[in-house]
């Protein structure tokens, strides 16, 4: 690639030839404001917000589609550029409903932001605004407010480029233009949520998130989606120790700017249906109780087995750290039997050649590196197991058939094993801990803690300490 020297607002820099001016300015830490341009999408050039002046060019040019050439001198702060921006803002707002008080985008809206940055003049518009439909269900959990739409076509392009779908298009002309699906059709592609992310205004909102939380109350933690073995990089948006939404985080090597809709809603288990306290089996059924009583029960169960009858089943849904801790614990305390693993293994898993993988576990690669055996190969010597996280339905059946007892289940949520396990010990979900997943390509990706471990859940290592103590007291007693 050839490098060229250009000047932006008096600052010299070197960029690859053809770099668009928005990206070139970004390298200087400067913003050329824009609506329709998105670095992950082919440029369009419709919003005209990124108009700048380039010396020797007769007219202002759009930054998003002007490539840097040797010696180019660009002005992004001249009075004329400022005036153009102000006029574009004025145009964008004349037919805009300005319903910020009830708009989910408020607080992360480019219209609001740029109004403050580049406009700040009262409206001169005295005419009737164009009215359109404010509640259009586009399908796939996406709602459209046609009046808020600025027709930037980002959503149309994200469908074309990411989902390879032509489901969205612009219909009508002039200031009646609006985004639509074809008559009688709705969006069904599994990447539709990205349209909401790229919409720079509140025209597209997520049915799942809308009206739930003002965005300025949300905090974000860098994380990794645990929905499949791709490991899309995400942000966990949370407040009040609950997760409100997941958003994709840019990683050109894994997921670019995108994530799928399955992954996007794969946070609900963090908030709901949790195992927040220890439980154990009684004659009256599963009982929620203190750690003390749960461990007492575990002790009584473990007394029935010798160390060489016990092993563990690790989970491909847990982090590298948690899998290591679990495997080490089993090895050092029992260790004569092989250690097994289980995976989330739904029937007919959806996959495509975009992002979605058929393997619905975030950490199969790390499990593979540990030399564990699948539960289907479990041998006769095994009488009791510690189970990490969960078992697939098939694996649970194997244990049932072979009469193998689950002495303890380290669970985030209520599961189909609840009645099989003697003791259930609560562990935090990915949102409540730091850790790493190894994706299908062997990429080790870190995720960070968004929430405090909910309820009385604890990392595996803490449970392990207590169980070790328990085991040694059993040994002493015998």
């Amino acid at each position: 690639m050839t490098k060229v020297k250009i000047t932006i607002d008096g600052h010299d820099l070197e960029v690859e030839q053809g770099t668009n001016l928005i990206e070139a300015a970004r390298q200087l830490g400067k913003t050329i404001p824009h609506y329709c341009y998105h670095p992950g999408l082919p440029p369009d050039g419709n919003c005209r917000m990124c108009l700048v002046q380039v010396e020797k060019m007769p007219k202002p040019v759009i930054g998003c589609r002007t490539g840097a050439t040797e010696g180019m001198v660009v002005h992004t702060q001249s009075d004329e550029v400022k005036k153009m921006r102000q006029s574009i803002m004025e145009f964008l707002l004349i037919n805009h409903p300005l319903d910020c008080p009830t708009c989910d985008q408020a607080g992360e809206c480019r219209l609001q932001d740029y109004y403050m940055d580049y406009d700040r003049i009262p409206s001169r518009y005295q005419e009737q605004k164009v009215h359109k439909d404010k509640m259009v269900d586009l399908g796939a959990g996406v709602m459209l407010d046609e009046e808020r739409c600025i027709v930037c076509t980002r959503c149309v392009r994200v469908c074309q480029e990411v989902a390879k779908s032509e489901e969205l298009f612009v219909q009508e002309r002039g200031n009646h233009s609006m985004v639509a699906t074809f008559p009688g059709k709705k969006m069904t592609n599994p990447y539709a949520g990205n349209t909401v992310d790229v919409c720079p205004v509140g025209a597209l909102t997520s049915k799942d998130f809308r009206y739930k939380k003002r965005v300025w109350f949300l905090s974000a933690a860098d994380s990794v989606c645990q929905g499949c073995s791709r490991g899309c990089n995400i942000s966990v948006h949370h407040a009040d120790n609950r997760v409100y939404r997941l958003k994709p985080r840019h990683n050109p090597e894994v997921n670019d700017y995108w994530m799928c809709d399955y992954g996007r809603i794969d946070y609900k288990f963090v908030n709901d249906g949790r195992r927040l306290k220890p439980h154990f089996k009684t004659d009256a059924g599963l009982q929620e109780d203190s750690y003390q009583n749960a461990f007492a029960h575990l002790q009584s169960v473990l007394q029935n087995y010798s160390a060489d009858q016990i092993t563990g089943i690790a989970s491909a849904q847990e982090s590298n750290e948690e899998i290591n801790a679990f495997v080490d614990f089993i090895k050092s305390n029992f260790g004569s039997l092989p250690i097994y693993f289980s995976k989330n293994n739904p029937e007919n898993p959806y996959e495509d050649d975009i992002l979605i993988k058929a393997d619905k576990n975030p950490n199969s690669a790390h499990i593979a590196s540990k030399n564990l055996k699948p539960v289907s190969e479990i041998s006769g010597g095994v009488k009791a197991v510690f189970v990490q996280r969960n078992l697939s339905a098939q694996d649970a059946q194997v244990l049932k058939d072979k009469g193998i007892q689950i002495v303890a289940l380290f669970a985030t949520n209520e599961t189909n094993l609840d009645n099989l396990a003697e003791v259930i010990l609560p562990i935090p979900t990915f949102a409540e801990q730091n850790g790493h997943f190894t994706n299908f390509e062997g990429k080790v990706q870190g995720f960070t803690k968004a929430l405090k471990p909910r309820g009385e859940s604890r990392l595996f290592a803490e449970h392990a300490e207590d169980i070790k103590a328990l085991l040694s007291s059993i040994k002493k007693a015998s």
Binding site: R48, L51, R65, R173
Partner: protein, 416 residues
């Protein structure tokens, strides 16, 4: 007067192949195929023929931008979308001499070595469509189109494609999008159609009238074509004259012809009140001329430029002194806001805003601030968009306000 384009218009059944051939049609084909393609381009360059669709770009020069061996097809698209208010010349060329256009297409295709041409025709054109389609069919039947045309070992196909009723599809890149089956939105340029045109291939787009002039030019030579017109505007041009004239219609005259003579001689004088107020010389999108300016102007590219306006598509609208120019501008506001494709913010919002302000002033009266705002909106719209449609309203807004202030003052509320 025998000129270039309209010579056969008065003949009975002028649209048929038989009449065309009896009257000199397809006579230049032998010469064309005996000439080096580059020499044809050179001849067209020498003739000084400029695009008749509005922008006046030299045709030969445009063709010379087509890459010689692009490794993919090259296309020729004839722009027959004619929808600019006040412009109705192409329809006559399509209705009355469709074979002249087909012969022109053959010349153009051969010159750039293209084997596929499209005629993109305005959806509302019914008779013109039937005539050009029938002519194409006749030409195929006779072996003038299709494989090995005229036995010259050259294949050429022409497809007539009907638009769906959008003015914007006359803009050349919107035309290409529409031709490709997409929404007719103009494309950002560069890249230009010469390298990235129809289906991503090198493409020449010319107006019907531009292409229709080719048979005459190749038959009679560039120098002969230059017997008419001026140095920078050689040849003849068809003008569609409408409005307050006694004989509205389409007239072919040499470029450089005085507007005054056009109104007096060809059109039988100013109609209506008989008192000239204004002339729009080049289709509704160009700046308007006052009567005084118009009577002093000639119909050629440079003379009208000097007067601050354009020859455009040659749609002359003559306006008498009964017309309220605010009312006229309001009409244009409606048209351009309705026809804006809506992709660029300044055009989508600006055209609608202008239109609504004019409506309000017209119905309820306005203030001086409204007029200032109109000027400012026009400024904010022009030169900032993907195609020239925004300018096509901005130019009238500024020129009407500037040249006919009394018509706007009349609507200003005294109390404001």
């Amino acid at each position: 007067m025998t000129l270039v384009l309209t010579n056969r218009f008065k003949l009975k059944d002028s649209h048929t192949l038989a009449v065309y051939e009896e009257n000199g049609g397809y006579k230049t084909i032998d010469k064309v195929f005996a000439t080096n393609p580059d020499d044809i381009i050179e001849e067209v360059k020498q003739s000084g023929l400029r695009g008749r669709g509005g922008a006046g770009f030299p045709a030969g020069l445009k063709w010379s931008f087509i890459p010689k061996d692009p490794g993919k097809p090259k296309y020729v698209c004839v722009n027959a979308d004619e929808s600019e208010p006040g412009t109705f010349k192409d329809r006559y060329l399509l209705e009355l001499d469709p074979h002249q256009l087909i012969e022109g297409i053959i010349i153009c295709c051969y010159a750039i070595q293209s084997h596929d041409a499209y005629i993109y025709i305005r959806g509302e054109f019914d008779l013109p469509y039937r005539r050009i389609q029938a002519a194409v069919d006749e030409a195929y039947a006779k072996g003038y189109l299709g494989k090995n045309i005229f036995g010259k070992g050259y294949d050429l196909n022409i497809v007539v494609h009907r638009g769906a009723g959008a003015y914007i599809c006359g803009e050349e890149t919107a035309l290409l999008e529409s031709l490709e089956g997409k929404r007719g939105n103009p494309r950002v340029k560069p890249p230009f159609p010469a390298t990235h045109g129809a289906f991503g291939c090198p493409t020449v787009i010319n107006n019907v009238e531009t292409i229709s002039a080719l048979p005459w030019i190749i038959t009679n030579g560039a120098q002969n074509y230059r017997q008419w017109g001026t140095e920078k505007s050689p040849g003849t041009k068809m003008f569609s004259v409408s409005g307050h004239v006694n004989k509205p219609g389409v007239y072919e005259v040499p470029l450089g012809y005085p507007i005054k003579d056009m109104i007096q001689n060809e059109c039988g004088g100013v109609g209506g009140t008989g008192r000239l107020k204004a002339v729009i010389p080049g289709g509704s999108s160009v700046p308007v001329l006052t009567a005084e300016e118009a009577l002093d102007a000639n119909l050629d590219y440079e003379s009208l430029m000097e007067k601050g306006t354009f020859l455009g598509s040659g749609g002359i609208i003559v306006i008498d002194d009964s017309v309220d120019m605010l009312w006229a501008l309001r009409n244009l506001g409606h048209f351009y806001s309705h026809e804006s494709c809506g992709q660029c913010t300044p055009c989508r919002e600006g055209t609608g805003w202008v239109s609504k302000i004019l409506d309000r002033i017209y119905h309820e009266g306005g203030t001086q601030a409204d007029l200032d705002l109109l000027n400012e909106i026009a400024d904010n719209m022009s030169g900032k968009t993907i195609c020239a449609l925004a300018d096509a309203l901005a130019m009238p807004v500024r020129s009407y306000l500037k040249k006919f202030p009394e018509d706007f003052a009349r609507h200003i509320k005294k109390t404001a």
